[in-house]
């Protein structure tokens, strides 16, 4: 069996869900004939037909709004944002409607809004963003951000089956760069469950998305120095798997919070608060954040390289903490 890429894993997960449940359909810009800008829906039109694979005009707001309306009627729409950056064009539909239908009306809207986020490909300020925190801050939305092919497939399937709106942020840098052999039998990865990607007793690194791989690389290097990192991949930001995070911090007493998103108002701040409130007495050092700086994401390669958190940052901060 050959290894499956992250992007192919998303594709397979969606394919399986569309095969399983006729109410599932996909809509978005260039998702049909073209198979999606990143080819996540390649072959879907031929397999499932134009009633379930809907090319839309350029209209993010109407794409999401139509998904909400269909979900209210019992359908299970999966809306693609061609780049996660364009989700801002649908902000009102997501935060006022998708997020609040259940609370206001007792009417759930089981839908998925998915798309490629993140930097590392020189996409510049509007094709590289990590918009998760706008939605983490909005009660009523679930927010998922897988780091591996296995998780991407298992989580997209769970997202489709979830009764609430799920924002599913794929990381485009990982699309074709990470791959692994996937089980041939069906599997799901539950939403709201973190995964310890590497165990270690000295320092916890709590992270998600592409940064999981930087944390793992750093862990490999530091193991040579006798410093053992424990890498906790959140996989889901909302609902947060507090238990797994706190368990790890209790064990190591030291924690690095790592994300590619910018610093102020980033998820690390929320995690730091949770850790301070709940396991303060276990801490043996300051809670450290590694994040992008508070700037837009620049285009030019040396600037983007500087902007993105790096493996070397994790190593540096971990050494500092280890010596603490």
């Amino acid at each position: 069996m050959s290894a499956t890429t992250y992007v192919e894993a998303v594709r397979q997960g969606l394919w399986e869900e569309m095969t399983r449940d006729e109410d599932v359909f996909v809509l978005g810009e260039d998702v049909g004939v073209y198979g999606g800008a990143f080819k996540v829906t390649a072959g879907f039109l031929d397999q499932f037909g134009e009633e379930r694979v809907l090319d839309t005009p350029l209209c993010e707001s109407a794409i999401v709004g139509a998904a909400i309306g269909a979900a209210l009627m019992g359908m299970r729409p999966v809306a693609e944002m061609q780049f996660a950056d364009f989700i801002s064009c649908a902000f009102d539909q997501i935060t006022n409607f998708a997020a609040k239908c259940r609370y206001r009306w007792g009417a759930g809207v089981p839908l998925v809004i998915r798309g490629p986020s993140g930097g590392g490909i020189h996409g510049g300020p509007f094709h590289s963003q990590n918009p998760e925190m706008y939605f983490v801050h909005t009660p009523g939305l679930k927010v998922v951000a897988p780091s591996t092919a296995y998780d991407a497939k298992g989580l997209i399937k769970s997202a489709v089956r979830d009764e609430d709106p799920v924002l599913f942020f794929e990381h485009k840098y990982l699309y074709r760069r990470v791959k692994e052999e996937l089980p041939s039998e069906e599997f799901l990865v539950p939403i709201g469950k973190a995964d310890v990607k590497r165990t270690g007793g000295d320092i916890s690194v709590v992270t998600y998305g592409a940064m999981v791989h930087n944390a793992l690389e750093a862990a490999e290097v530091l193991a040579g120095d006798g410093v053992e990192l424990e890498v906790v991949d959140l996989r889901t930001l909302v609902p947060l798997d507090k238990a797994t995070v706190l368990e790890s911090v209790k064990k190591t007493g030291k924690v690095i919070l790592l994300h590619e998103d910018t610093r102020t108002g980033g998820f690390a701040g929320e995690l730091a608060a949770v850790i301070a409130e709940e396991v303060f007495e276990y801490l043996d050092g300051p809670v450290m954040r590694i994040t992008a700086p508070d700037t837009p994401i620049p285009y030019s390669p040396p600037l983007e390289e500087f902007f993105l958190p790096k493996t070397s940052d994790v190593i540096r901060v971990a050494r500092h903490l280890a010596a603490y």
Partner: protein, 322 residues
């Protein structure tokens, strides 16, 4: 036609500069010299040229992700444009934006835009400022057929209409929004027909005929300057290359491809002006040579410019920050 020799020369120079610039970018991209996405304007040169030649320097434009042609036609410096595309410190945005973000507010170029449909609301603000200050300036707002389906277009066209703003909405209908045909994404054949629903004039012109575009733009600009409000000008055009460089274009149908290949605004311009005896082929060739040289210089400038220093990452987020 009411165009002087100088105007004609300048229009021709603009068109061939755009063509040369874009073909040069294409080659540089193929060689792997450009780090990010580029969307080329080849085939659509007559639109930016025809519209911008109807503007004065203090007028403004808003642009799109396919913005190099608009920039050149509005007089942006090609050296700094190319440097921006290369991500260099000498770029118009210091390398922070790249192709889809080129702006030069001083030249009245209010920015290329990586968000499709981002331009029209800005154009309303430029138009409003003109009204408030009494400057008499107009704003030409370029956008694609795909952008016409964004709510921002509708919101802006209506706003410009009720406030009687000096805005010229220029729809560049090249038949596709990425892979999606306009015949699919738009329920009517002519985007210009939407003008009726805003109570503003709408016109369809051949976007490969620089004279037709220019004439229609002059008319719209005249109205706008006279306080008679916005217009919608739809230019039917063809995108000769892919949506972005690297696009396989498997979705383009044969009719589109063959019609598109037959369209060449530069060739048509040459034929017309030489037939009328306004210019000789030699004179035009000389302009070609100058344009080619200017683009070569731009390329050399971009290639030899330094990359930005990392201190630029945190500069310009605010005017100052404690």
């Amino acid at each position: 036609m009411n165009l002087s020799q100088d105007q004609l020369r300048s229009m021709y120079r603009t068109m061939v500069s755009i063509r040369n610039f874009e073909e040069t970018v294409k080659q540089a991209f193929a060689k792997g010299h450009i780090p990010g996405f580029v969307h080329l304007y080849v085939g659509e040169e007559a639109i930016a040229t025809g519209v911008c030649s109807a503007l004065r320097a203090s007028d403004t434009i808003t642009s799109t992700h396919r913005g190099h042609g608009h920039c050149i036609a509005k007089g942006c410096d090609m050296n700094s444009m190319m440097a921006e595309i290369y991500g260099k410190a000498t770029g118009l945005c210091k390398g922070k934006g790249g192709s889809m973000h080129i702006a030069d507010v001083g030249k009245g170029m209010l920015g290329a835009n990586g968000i499709v449909g981002g331009g029209p609301p800005l154009a309303c603000g430029a138009g409003l400022t003109s009204v408030v200050t009494g400057s008499g300036d107009v704003c030409a707002c370029f956008f694609g057929d795909g952008a016409c389906e964004q709510g921002t277009f509708h919101e802006s066209a209506n706003l410009a209409a009720i406030w009687n703003l000096p805005v010229i909405f220029v729809a560049e209908n090249n038949g596709y929004a990425q892979s999606t045909p306009a015949s699919y994404h738009c329920a009517i054949e002519n985007i210009a027909e939407r003008a009726a629903s805003y109570g503003i004039p709408g016109a369809v012109v051949d976007g490969s005929d620089v004279f037709a575009v220019h004439e229609a733009a002059v008319e719209a600009v005249k109205r706008a300057r006279a306080g008679q409000g916005p217009s919608l000008l739809e230019c039917k055009t063809y995108r000769h290359h892919g949506h972005f460089e690297g696009d396989q274009q498997t979705y383009k149908d044969d009719l589109y491809k063959s019609v598109s290949q037959g369209k060449d605004s530069i060739r048509d311009f040459r034929a017309l002006v030489t037939q009328h005896g306004w210019f000789t082929s030699e004179e035009l060739d000389a302009i070609d040579g100058e344009a080619r040289q200017a683009v070569e210089e731009a390329l050399a400038y971009a290639e030899s410019s330094p990359l930005p220093g990392v201190e630029e990452v945190t500069s310009d987020v605010y005017v100052s920050y404690p």
